[in-house]
């Protein structure tokens, strides 16, 4: 190891880019293939979780602790939660707050003063413009969807740290003694 090389470097642009989109930090550092692989992995896990458990698995109001992990995916997770809260939750007049719709309920996007008022399907009658809310996931499907999305966030945290503070990956050299080198120096494949 070259003693003059710092153990850990700091790349603020790559750190910021990694926070914006999974894998973008490594791509900004010149490791495009690695960035693409990270992006595919993190976004694949996140999309897989939403596919399995539905949009219900990303919910900062009802599953706040899990959302802490999911939010590490970045703006994608925050946008997913925003869509869930604003386009699929229903407003309950009795509770005076938004909640997940019960089975058989519809959503009135044009209600006032709070949009998205819950309308039992039996009272829908001939009203037009009512939307079908999402189906709330339960049991193992909800647990697995939540797990997939939270794992995506935690793995992205590893990628963010690796992009912003490039560690020394062990170089598999032909020499008998493995050497260490900065990750950014080698470039992507």
């Amino acid at each position: 190891m070259n003693p003059s090389t710092p153990d850990v470097s700091f790349e603020p642009l790559a750190l910021f880019a990694a926070c914006v989109l999974p894998g973008l930090g490594h791509a900004a550092r010149g490791e495009r293939a690695r960035g693409l692989a990270i992006g595919v992995g993190v976004l694949g896990l996140f999309a897989g979780g939403v596919l399995i458990g539905g949009i219900d698995v990303v919910d900062r109001r009802e599953d706040g602790v899990w959302f802490l992990g999911q939010a590490l995916v970045g703006p994608v997770a925050i946008a997913t939660d925003y869509v869930h809260q604003s386009r699929f939750k229903v407003y309950d007049d009795r509770l005076r707050r938004y909640r997940s719709a019960y089975p058989g309920e519809l959503r009135d996007p044009n209600s006032a003063p709070e949009p998205g008022k819950a309308v039992p399907s039996g009272q829908a009658g001939t009203r037009t413009g009512l939307q079908k809310p999402n189906v709330k996931s339960v049991g193992k499907v909800n647990e697995l969807g939540t797990l997939f999305t939270a794992l995506a966030g935690m793995l992205n945290l590893i990628a963010i740290i690796d992009a912003g503070f490039p560690t020394r990956r062990r170089e598999i050299a032909s020499s008998p003694t493995p050497t260490l080198k900065p990750a950014g120096a080698g470039g992507g494949a």
Partner: protein, 80 residues
């Protein structure tokens, strides 16, 4: 309006009976992402991903089997 229509990414999948099979894609994606960060040479990514995914799956199955044996075999003998 069709009330039973499934909407991908909005409504949950109906995989309640075979949920345990989702361990396989989960392990593969976790291994792929982790190894994408860690491997020095991306040409080894596929091999390292396969090895780590197998380690995760075998480990989870072993933990499940150990928990099953403890609860179904060991505990009943201890409390008898």
């Amino acid at each position: 309006m069709t009330f039973l229509a499934y909407r991908p990414f909005i409504d949950p999948l109906g995989v309640h009976a075979s949920w345990y099979l989702l361990l396989v894609p989960c392990a593969i994606l976790v291994a792929f992402t982790y190894k994408a960060v860690r491997v020095p040479d991306l040409r080894r990514l596929a091999r390292d991903t396969a090895v780590m995914a197998m380690q995760i799956i075998v480990g989870m199955v072993a933990l499940g089997a150990a928990a099953y044996l403890f609860i179904e075999v060991v505990l009943p003998r201890l409390v008898r």
